[in-house]
Symmetry: D3
Subunit: 297 residues, 6 copies
């Protein structure tokens, strides 16, 4: 209870820490009152240490007046439970076909396991998170994903409309919404949707200041094997060129396209960050160093 | 689009229907602005027709100005998924022991399956439901259930405290909260809690006007096999006598005790209703006929 | 006080009633939060049983979230009091000339008798009505009715402007405004105005969802003597044709024109209903049967 | 449109007028935000010049931040209309017996004639008055006046309860409520009530700062024929003595008792003013000269 | 404490005063809820009697619902303190050069002496004033005055932008802002600004109804020596002509130009009043006599 | 504009900084929404580097949800200006006698120089400060300081009452109030008050969580010359003993007594901090190291 008296050398260290806090000041001012939608996934959702740091970053963001909105995925855990239940995953061209049983498993894992863990993680650091799926307050109206008619992916959906009222109400009361990428069609059919897409569409509907995708790569690199070739800044209009040049390829393509959709819907800036980097969210927001690729309108 | 012209006999039928609507008027006035906590479970959660009717009842209640709060259980579905996953349920004295794996299954079924189904059901009739577990906004702070020290039930909890702010905020914005009986301890341990208890403790914390437990029996009957022996009204003080006389026995005992706890915490009235009866909620609220047992302070 | 236990047959009847309540659900949803202006007059204002039912309909509308606004006339009662006071009514072409004495009588009957009776009727069923004349809060600014210069109708007015603030404030606090068709000119001269016109002009000023005129006929019928020839739906643009064909004629002409004015001012739909039909308001709003003529933009 | 240039002598006169305005400053500050209930009646309601000045006084009061509430009577006009209608007034011990026909006439005169005239008078000077009777929003719940059982006064009532919500809502929106002394019993029976009593009971229910009764006498005078014997200040506790000494007598007794009831219900001060004196309301409020009798708690 | 009873002759005088109050009624109504920006300076800020009257005028304005905003200058007091401190004032073409020491003195006199005196003066008459400089809440963003490059006037500034939020917040809570003409550049340099200009720019930013400049002349006169040649009304478009004709000349030119700037920014009307005339503010606002020159858009 | 890509070693440094930010999290949570009154004076007000750091600390506090209120003194600057103006300071027992001329100088320095500098300093780091003296909105009602009657200190005052409304309104709109220790008596006499006392009385009136006095010593030390003898925590009840033992002595006595007064008025905790220590405010609030003396209730 009695605070120990700081020694001279402790004092120097404390003053150094205070100086660090001060460096954050201009960044806090820049983003106060703004909404930042964060797609949370990959290693940062698996490694317990990284997980803890993302939760802290989110709570600190909220405490300095930013409105963070979390959208999470859940790939590997879904497969794990399917295995446990003896369900076999089917794939077409590398994409999972979602039949009714798979959809059930996806919902249970997303809403019944991962969402609650994130909520609890944030609350454990003093935040006030509330978990939502796209069903809650009709948040995400979905439709069957429009794809090549030859490939029926089953209950894989895309966002048709967003009803952001439930988010607005929670945000206003200083709650942090944590959202699983499940939507419902007007006819009542549930769909599993790609989490990057949901994050981008929500960011657009909320006119967010930023969309941040936490990934397992350093960003968009000219040479995927060399982080030193990271492209720290691209314009939305350059995306097609980068895809043609195969600099953006594979799983990065839908991510970059989600960013583009968000920017076109009025989001201020999109970021592809490396979730494996400790506190990458905070570093991106609160320092002038770029730690990923920023996509600008 | 063009409304068909009513024939004379149709008109008579329409006038009859309007008369029925009017009979509800004094009951609507009595409960406007009041909170009613409903424990939803049993057959009414399994039979699709009954399910549909409960959803409608809830939506109509909200539309006429009542604030319904739904708490749901999930017993049989949890066992079913455990079976699918090759987990064996352990029981002590007929109560399920909840180890870590069982707790995981319970959360997945409650939050990832049943909660979403209820939310979707209500929304399908034009309501605006939002699903919550006790983790959301720290709604339900739990602790390990205090029981006979010889019997360790594992992660079975009881309510230590309720933080109703997230409910208040949703209610005020005309959303209908649907709550699964999962709580978290201050140390971050998740607990599965009996849904009747959660409903009673929430009703107490919210100073609800009514607590309604939907069950699979007619109410408290002098002779369990004869619905004609239903006791339509008892005082809280009579409960111990009824237990001693074995009129209240078995699974009815915790339900009746939950009702008593709610009344002592300031709830106006508790009802044990027969969820197998179509529209039993509406009939209890909007007519002067008693269709179950009412427990008064 | 003890609710009687329902017998099996009573239960069946109760379930039937609950089913009727449910049929109203989609209609309640359609009109929640909307304003409906009702011109109340004719038999429905004279027959005590019909009167009672209109009051109930209005209270139920308010309870399910609709904002009803009542405008009433008062023809026969004015004549009755004039007789009692030995005043002789003068008519030109069937229209009453309103001299100063007649105007005094009209105000006394409208504001001092009929308005209070309606307010009290609504309050008797648990509503919260507040009576207003066009003088209150300068609600209705009037001018002398522009007519054939040869026929001086005296203090018969028309609406020049509406100051709806007093209505908005009462509505927001869940009061039901009941309005008599009296207006005042900027110079302070009181005018008696046709109640259909006042209802239409108020509906327009309030951008009401619906204007409903309660009349003593079935609606617009091709053959006035045969209700089976009711025209259930017409477009605003068809009105002139119907007048030319003499299908709309006599006292129906000003009513239809009031509806047209309201639609042109932005009201969603106008209805000419038969006030002699029990609960015709409720049937029109809460069922998919048309019981009168609907005039669409 | 072009303001004429003031001459030197006009300037002196204008400066004098500004000085008068300034004298009101401390009084305005004393009563800002306070409620003042005014019983309006007697000569001030008959003489057109006095009428105009009362209306102005009320409007100015509202403009400087006071909340005036007007309660009016209507004696002579009721008798006049009864005469016109051939109804004979019956009296017991000088008090009018109110049968059903008389009650009808009273309502028509009070609500249909006088109330509207006052509303219009206030609005004519730029105020925003709204007329109410005790029926509106159930403002005045009445019961039969408890009197000597031998004398049945018919539908003469007294105030049982006040529901001030409609007044509060109008006040808050800067409307001036004008109230006729008509109440309704819970069973729906209308009663005519003494206006002084209604004003006193309203003032008590609203915890008004002041109750002002406008009368046709100078105040309470030791010698009724000599205004110089005016008692400018009495304590509530002195009232019984003044009645015993017959200084307060006749029609002044119920007025003084109404004042006492208001003071006991928490009203700050009661005034009996001479309504025949031009601007007596303003002079009492805005100068340090007493122009009537002030009754203090 | 006991109000003295008014004598008959006192009564006549009181009635006369009430009549004067009433004459203000229509003017109060015209300006309720409007913002009036007043440049306070000259004799009215020096003569104790005139000072007292300006304070009263401002308080009364606020009490009847007008929002007065005061901007004050401080010329002679600044020179006096410079003399005390042995600083020599430098002038170029009659304009004071403001070096760093002069700026310090100006701030101390304006914010540390005059502003507080005005605040205290207003509060002494029951108003609730709050003093502000352009630094508070970044109210006035300034830049160096753009002038002839040959003449460096030092830290004399002009208004670059207005951040009116602090004023809006104080106004809404019924505080009266009193503002000194000090601004700060985005780089943090303080500037002394002409008070007429600040008043005009604030009035424009606030879309005030009126800008009033209190001066030491009668207004714009055709013959400066003859008040009878006062031009009571000019249009903004006539200003250049009046300057060309040398009717507007000398120190009046910047005042008239400030008025023009305000009108062009949306202010309703500008007035050049004679602050030496007692209660000139009140007379201008609350009577139909013009006591200065009014400049119209 | 293009954020430079961080090198590996920069990344490590950034992660280290983020970790420091995270350490502040629990402290931010503890003080969110709380009011902290800070007496600003001494070296921290003179040394430009320390000044800058105090401004930053205050802005960061506000950004993380704390409500800082600044009260400043001004001793040396007042003497400096008096010297410039040829005024001689008079002292009795080491305390300055404040005659009218001295009071004038004090106001000019406090309100016209120092207050504005602090406001500007805070605004320069992105805060939104508003300067106030005790005159603004009658914030500080003062009376002559009650002292030994032999020693007339002139216009030295003490706080009689606090009207915190203007502070509450500014705080709510996220402005930071900066207050000079000038008060006014009800009769209009200005008084200069000790700034520690004003801070303590304001903290008490606002029921602040903390009162912080920035001083030029390390805190309360058993041996004033040895910072290692700092007493980090004392109870309010121990103060008299420490004074008797001369551990608290000289200028520390009134500071400690001001702290006691604040605690007795309901303030949670008082701190005597060393303003010469960089970021001492932040270190005290946001770390668990004590850097001064804490006085507890």
């Amino acid at each position: 209870m009695i605070p120990p008296i700081a020694t001279e050398s402790e004092l120097q260290s404390l003053i150094g820490k205070a100086t660090v806090l001060m460096e954050a000041l201009p960044y806090i001012q820049r983003f106060r009152g703004e909404t930042v939608v964060i797609k949370y996934g990959g290693h940062a959702m698996i490694d317990p240490e990284l997980k803890r740091m993302v939760m802290q970053d989110i709570v600190l963001m909220e405490h300095v007046g930013i409105n963070p909105i979390i959208v999470h995925g859940g790939g590997p855990e879904i497969t794990a439970l399917m295995d446990r239940m003896g369900l076999e995953a089917q794939f077409i061209d590398g994409q999972r076909v979602t039949d009714a049983a798979t959809l059930d498993v996806a919902e249970m894992v997303l809403n019944g396991k991962l969402n609650g863990e994130i909520v609890q993680g944030i609350n454990g650091f003093g935040g006030r998170a509330v978990g939502l799926s796209g069903k809650d307050g009709n948040l995400i109206v979905a439709r069957k994903l429009q794809t090549n008619p030859d490939r029926d992916m089953g209950y894989v959906g895309e966002v048709e409309a967003v009803n952001p009222e439930v988010i607005r109400i929670l945000e206003k009361a200083d709650f942090i919404p944590v959202i699983s990428p499940i939507g419902v069609s007007p006819e009542g059919q549930t769909y599993n949707i790609n989490a990057d897409t949901v994050a981008a569409d929500l960011a657009g509907a909320l006119k967010a200041r930023k969309l941040v995708l936490l990934t397992d790569v350093r960003g968009i690199c000219r040479d995927a094997d060399d982080p030193a070739t990271l492209i720290s800044r691209i314009r939305e209009g350059d995306i097609d060129g980068l895809i043609e040049q195969k600099i953006v390829r594979g799983g990065m393509i839908p991510k970059v396209r989600a960013c583009r959709a968000a920017l076109r819907a009025g989001v201020g800036m999109a970021h592809i960050l490396d979730g494996r980097l400790p506190h990458s969210l905070l570093i991106e927001l609160f320092t002038d160093k770029g730690v990923g690729s920023m996509i600008m309108p």
